[in-house]
């Protein structure tokens, strides 16, 4: 059984990971899609609903 201090640290790390995932997931998908796409699209087409 881990000590209380380790538990605190694990909980903090999980919370941090959750916040990172929350803000970075969509930009990450867009980055991966943008760099791997074939042919590479223009950035304005990516974001704007009308272009």
């Amino acid at each position: 059984m881990p000590s209380e201090e380790t538990k605190e640290r694990i909980i903090k790390a999980v919370d941090l990971a959750r916040v990172v995932a929350h803000y970075a997931w969509i930009p990450f998908i867009i980055y991966v899609g943008y760099t791997r796409s074939n042919p590479q699209p223009s950035l304005i087409k990516l974001i704007s609903p009308l272009a």
Partner: protein, 360 residues
């Protein structure tokens, strides 16, 4: 249905390396007496030639696709999806939904990336709530999945980790929901589905809820699935411990018509409830139409008319005869793409003139 999801698990595993047969040579097994028994058992099992029963998650997939519960909406909605690449698949969607009686107006932005092994999807609404999915296919029969709902309000988030394994005649699945690595609390689910004859598969699902260390609750559910010999009809049943029964029946009447029936019975002490639903789906060349009737007096219909390859018109309606209420929804689905039809790998159906894209 903001994002077409045919690629979800099916597309994760189109490359199928042939599964190595786990049969050891007889000379090595003679040194270990149990080995020959195991090999004989494995050979006998192989000789039965049973099909894979499909996953537990997809047990009622066919009837769910025929019922319109997952499709119905009210108010007005517009889905603008943009395919930026076909291989690997990369797509962004903007969905607007307003004028609904039950939910306030929403805007969702979605991004999806998929290739042979990987599937990533994210959907964020105007409040910053994110729903994320990540599937990684290790081989054709091994898929790991993570699903998360991350909310800006504390306590609304959940993370689900899952692994799917499909053997030659069985399927295994393990899930952990809201697993906390500090004290191992969370909800754990394991399921096993095994084909016993060419038509019948039976399975069991266990749910272990561990709210706090030392406080856990185990639940069991039994599953059965019977598939007709020509795969034209499927009947399933699920029984859960406190008296919950779910049964479904799906039949393909012809190339274009499917029907489905679903029954949910809850016979727990103190609460008795049942719901029966009957639905039909017509899949026509340019449109699909669903109609549904249930035992709470609701009649509903859903029409999806694909007027052009990139434009679809949706109409959804529901009348509740017992409560005397009605819901109507209208929607459009617009697919804009910077790619030519050839690049998308799309061949226009013969006889349908494809309108040329207006070029700036």
């Amino acid at each position: 249905m903001s994002v077409p999801t045919p690629v979800v698990p099916a597309d994760v595993s189109p490359v199928s390396p042939p599964q190595p047969a786990p049969v050891a040579s007889s000379s090595s097994s003679s040194s270990w007496p149990l080995g020959s028994v195991f090999n004989r058992f494995a050979a006998w099992r192989k000789s039965l030639d049973l099909p894979n029963p499909g996953t537990v998650e997809n047990l009622t997939k066919e009837s769910k696709q025929t019922l319109l519960n997952n499709y119905a909406f009210d108010g007005a909605r517009a889905d603008l999806s943009k395919s930026l690449s076909m291989n690997p698949m990369f797509q962004v969607t903007h969905s607007f939904h307003l004028g609904s009686q039950t939910v306030p107006p929403t805007y969702h932005f979605g991004a999806m990336f998929a290739n042979d092994k990987l599937f990533m999807h994210g959907n964020v609404d105007h409040d910053g709530n994110l729903s994320a999915r990540f599937n990684q296919g290790w081989s054709a029969t091994n898929v790991s999945k993570v699903q998360a709902q991350l909310s800006t309000q504390p306590g609304q988030s959940y993370v689900q980790m899952e692994h799917d394994f499909q053997g030659s005649d069985y399927s295994l699945n393990a899930k952990a929901v809201n697993l906390s690595p500090a004290d191992l609390t969370g909800i754990y689910m394991g399921s096993y589905l095994q084909s016993v004859t060419k038509n019948l598969a039976v399975g069991v699902e266990t749910i272990l809820q561990r709210q706090a260390p030392g406080l856990s609750d185990l639940g069991l559910a039994y599953l059965a699935k019977y598939t007709g010999s020509d795969r034209k009809w499927i009947a399933t049943a699920q029984v859960q411990a406190p008296g919950i029964l779910q049964a479904s029946y799906w039949q393909k009447l012809s190339e274009k018509v499917d029907v489905a029936a679903e029954l949910q019975v809850m016979a727990a002490p103190g609460r008795r409830d049942a719901l029966a639903t009957l639905a039909a789906r017509y899949e026509l060349r340019m449109a699909s139409f669903r109609a549904q009737l249930d035992s709470t007096g609701k009649v509903s219909a859903y029409l999806e008319h694909r007027i052009a390859p990139t434009f679809a018109f949706l109409m959804s309606g529901e009348i509740d005869h017992f409560k005397n209420a009605a819901k109507v929804g209208v929607g459009v689905m617009i697919e804009s793409s910077s790619l030519t039809p050839e690049e998308m790998g799309m061949v226009p159906p013969p006889g349908v003139p494809v309108a040329p894209m207006p070029q700036p």
